[in-house]
């Protein structure tokens, strides 16, 4: 392919010792492919770059051919080349750049570093005043990988989020306060679309994603205040030249969009590109060809040798409030709850008689209310009354430092990386009234209430893609037992600080014997949701809940076999020992419409046990058993069906 080049181009390639064989070899180098965001594809698609902007490539075929892109880049990097590159002036990335045009080396400084420093290709340097000024203004000294804890309030946040924090210095060389450093995050721009459109587009790659930069205080107030999520910062072991590489690659990717796909090409996946540019020996993205769960990408980074220098956790606003509450006496706590219901009583108190901790707790509560109020930024501060704050300003005593009281509330504070692996499979022996079966179950993500809860939200379930198949010992046939695309449950304990709803929602296809028309068994599609209340009687160990559920069921075979059911549910979670968990539920569904031969209602008792057997191998084994007793009754006679299963599960 080099024969068609001009003489000057051929001469340039000779000067830098690049011939066709070397070009072909270098085009396959993993670091080159990583810088191009190239990815191996499976299923109906050829290998290509994740970048979806022409501005990311110097060759018109750059997205599909790393070789052509390599050649185009090498030629463009010739200091004698007249090629000038501009920032995109239209579309979404026009926000970042200006109207400057520069030599190719200045648009792709990380590629330049790679060629010259990593590969030793002797390309003379060209002056890049804009890039140099930007790096200089950044005054970057270190980089942390930040993990925002999962948040069940929004599907987008349910797996958590990762981004980078660039530590900076001030112009006088003093280290910047953390809040004044910068966050670098990959996010999707969804314009003014409605909520329903967002789901479809987010899943199918219709939103352009890009690398944003924010002053860190924006991210802190967004996550710890508004969302009330903990932030975990992992300061990475990168030296100055590696920090520069991250910024050089950030400069490159800031000219491009990358279509956002919620499951695989999401925030946590793309941020790894910046770290791989810094550390060519780190293979991060290649592990995430199917899906990229933020927690897993975090673990991938932490598993690199000597990756982390220091870990810091920034507590959420509600966690700080709960920790502060432990500093109050019983009387002060009573006072807090009285104020909480009657904020106007503030005027009755005067400073000398008050403890600063009490006023601080009230302030945290008011701040939480203010940031949750959905008002414009301009108006939020006004929601925290000066009356209350003046009182504090006149009260003697120092406020407790959130870091010093961290953990006092007893609320679990396990580091995210201690969480069990995302996937799970299980093998069970299942006994029914009709047959005995072997069941194999596989779950792609992530957690259920019988799993070890360290690093996850207590009393929660987040199931994505669970599949179960079975083999009947009597019938000698395989069949599908269940297929659950998604199911979420959050049995948040009710307390006076956060009066929350316990809820669950989800659906899938299940094997059942409870449609009269089923001979032995049939598959029904079910979508179920419920809401109610949960009370934690012994912290981490005993929880009761009660809910009202509605379920919609249908079998494919008979179009008119569709029914709607509703009814109450009660349940208990108990952990008698650290490795033994029990979850029992009893629910009752009444169905409409009432067909003559169909059940009018159904009562189900379900009790599951898990025994965690850690330490046997690097994964987590659990002995898991489940007893399920189901009763259904018809208008004329009752019919009881019983199932029992026992088996092993393992996370991997």
């Amino acid at each position: 392919m080099l024969e068609v080049l001009s003489n000057s181009d051929k001469q340039w390639l000779q000067e830098i010792n690049i011939d066709e064989p070397r070009l072909k070899l270098l085009a396959k180098e993993s670091t080159w492919l990583k810088l191009l965001h190239y990815r191996k594809r499976y299923f109906f698609s050829r290998d290509k770059s994740d970048a979806d902007s022409a501005s990311f490539f110097l060759s018109s075929d750059g997205k599909y051919s790393p070789e052509k892109e390599l050649l185009a880049t090498l030629l463009a990097f010739n200091p004698k080349s007249s090629l000038r590159v501009k920032w995109p002036t239209e579309g979404l990335r026009a926000d970042f750049g200006g109207t400057e045009s520069h030599p190719a080396q200045c648009a792709f400084p990380m590629r330049y570093i790679y060629f010259v420093e990593d590969l030793g290709i002797p390309i003379p340097k060209v002056d890049c005043p804009d890039f140099q000024k930007w790096i200089k203004d950044y005054r970057a000294s270190a980089i942390s990988l930040v993990f925002a804890a999962p948040y069940f309030g929004s599907p987008a946040s349910i797996f958590g989020h990762t981004f980078l924090r660039v530590h900076t210095s001030r112009s006088n060389q003093e280290k910047s306060e953390d809040l004044l450093s910068y966050a670098v995050s990959f996010e999707a721009f969804k314009g003014g679309d409605s909520s329903s459109l967002m789901i479809i587009k987010g899943l199918t790659g219709f939103y352009p994603g890009m690398f944003y930069q924010y002053p860190y205080y924006m991210k802190v107030s967004n996550y710890t205040d508004i969302d009330s999520r903990d932030l975990w910062e992992y300061e990475l072991n990168l030296d100055q030249s590696e920090v520069k590489r991250v910024l050089a690659h950030l400069w490159e990717v800031s000219r491009a969009n990358f279509n956002y796909y919620f499951f695989d090409e999401n925030c946590s996946y793309h941020i790894l590109a910046l770290l791989e540019a810094a550390k060519p020996s780190w293979n991060l993205r290649s592990r995430f060809s199917i899906d990229a769960i933020p927690l897993d990408t975090l673990k991938a980074v932490l598993s690199q040798e000597n990756a982390v220098r220091k870990t810091v956790v920034r507590p959420s606003l509600l966690r700080i409030l709960r920790d502060r509450m432990t500093l109050l006496s019983d009387e002060e706590r009573g006072q807090f709850y009285r104020w909480k219901s009657n904020p106007q009583e503030i005027s009755q108190f005067s400073p000398p008689t008050l403890s600063p901790h009490l006023v601080d707790a009230m302030i945290d509560w008011q701040k939480y209310q203010a940031v949750s109020s959905g008002k414009k930024l301009d108006e939020v501060a006004g929601q925290i009354p000066v009356k209350l704050l003046s009182l504090r300003a006149k009260t003697k005593g120092t406020s407790a430092d959130p870091q010093e009281i961290l953990g006092r509330s007893g609320l679990a504070l396990d580091p995210p990386e201690s969480a069990h692996p995302s996937r799970k499979f299980g093998l069970f022996l299942h006994h029914t009234d009709v047959d005995n079966r072997f069941i194999g179950k596989l779950r792609v993500a992530v957690h259920d209430i019988l799993d070890e809860e360290r690093g996850y939200l207590n009393y929660s379930e987040l199931t994505v893609m669970q599949l179960a198949g079975s083999y009947g010992l009597k019938t000698k046939k395989f069949r599908l037992e269940e297929l659950v695309p998604a199911r979420v449950m959050n049995l948040r304990p009710f307390d006076r600080i956060q009066k929350g709803l316990a809820w669950k929602v989800g659906g899938g296809v299940f094997r059942t014997e409870n449609f009269e028309s089923c001979k032995e068994s049939c598959l029904i599609g079910e979508f179920r949701g419920g809401g109610g209340i949960a009370f934690e009687l012994i912290p981490q160990r005993l929880l009761f809940f009660s809910m009202a559920n509605a379920a919609f069921q249908a079998t494919g075979r008979f179009v008119r076999s569709v029914r709607l059911g509703a009814g109450p549910e009660v349940g208990v979670f108990v952990k008698p020992l650290s490795f033994w968990r029990i979850f029992g539920t009893f629910d009752w569904l009444q169905y409409v419409p009432r067909f003559e031969a169909s059940p009018v209602g159904e009562k189900t008792l379900n009790v599951g046990h898990s025994f965690q057997l850690e330490g046997l191998t690097s994964g987590t084994f659990a002995g898991q058993s489940e007893i399920r007793i189901q009763k259904q009754w018809f208008s004329s006679k009752g019919l009881v069906r019983r199932n029992f299963s026992v088996g092993f599960t393992r996370h991997f």
Binding site: F96, L180, S195, G202, Y212, S254, S390
Partner: protein
């Protein structure tokens, strides 16, 4: 499809930037004040799947854009106090009342205090809470004016 997406985006960007300028009076602020501080869990956004924050999405064009206050993702030096106050007023109000807190320490740094002057700055700010926040209608711009008036010289006084 893509063109439509780009058009929607560019239109939104246009609307956002004009809206932010329309909201300010006199000395144009950084336009952050008109952004809605919105929790993820609001029912209307409950099905948002694509980003982790609808709040931050509205900042597009203001944070990384070539606006008054930021260029290439970095806040411009002369806009630093304005930008910070607009984004942090709730935390600042609280920290000044307490005489401590990260937001107040960051303010001290922005206003030129070296580390050893921060405690003095914080205590002074607390003692001047009522001048800095006389009422609940104080805007970020008001606060910046007051802060410059009340706190500018504090870092330098008593030498160092």
């Amino acid at each position: 499809m893509r063109i439509k997406g780009i058009l929607v985006a560019v239109f939104s960007l246009f609307v956002l930037s004009t809206a932010s300028f329309a909201a300010s009076t006199g000395d144009a602020g950084c336009g952050l004040g008109s952004v809605i501080f919105q929790k993820n869990s609001k029912l209307s956004q409950s099905l948002a799947l694509t980003t982790n924050s609808t709040f931050l999405n509205q900042l597009f064009g203001i944070t990384s854009g070539t606006s008054n206050c930021a260029a290439k993702g970095l806040v411009k030096n002369d806009a630093e106090l304005k930008y910070y106050a607009e984004a942090n007023l709730p935390s600042l109000k609280v920290d000044v009342a307490r005489g401590s807190g990260e937001s107040l320490v960051a303010l001290a740094q922005i206003m030129g205090c070296s580390k050893d002057r921060v405690a003095h700055f914080s205590a002074t700010a607390q003692s001047r809470f009522e001048s800095l926040f006389p009422n609940d209608q104080i805007t970020a711009a008001d606060f910046v004016t007051q802060a410059e008036h009340e706190l500018s010289g504090v870092c330098q006084s008593n030498g160092a």
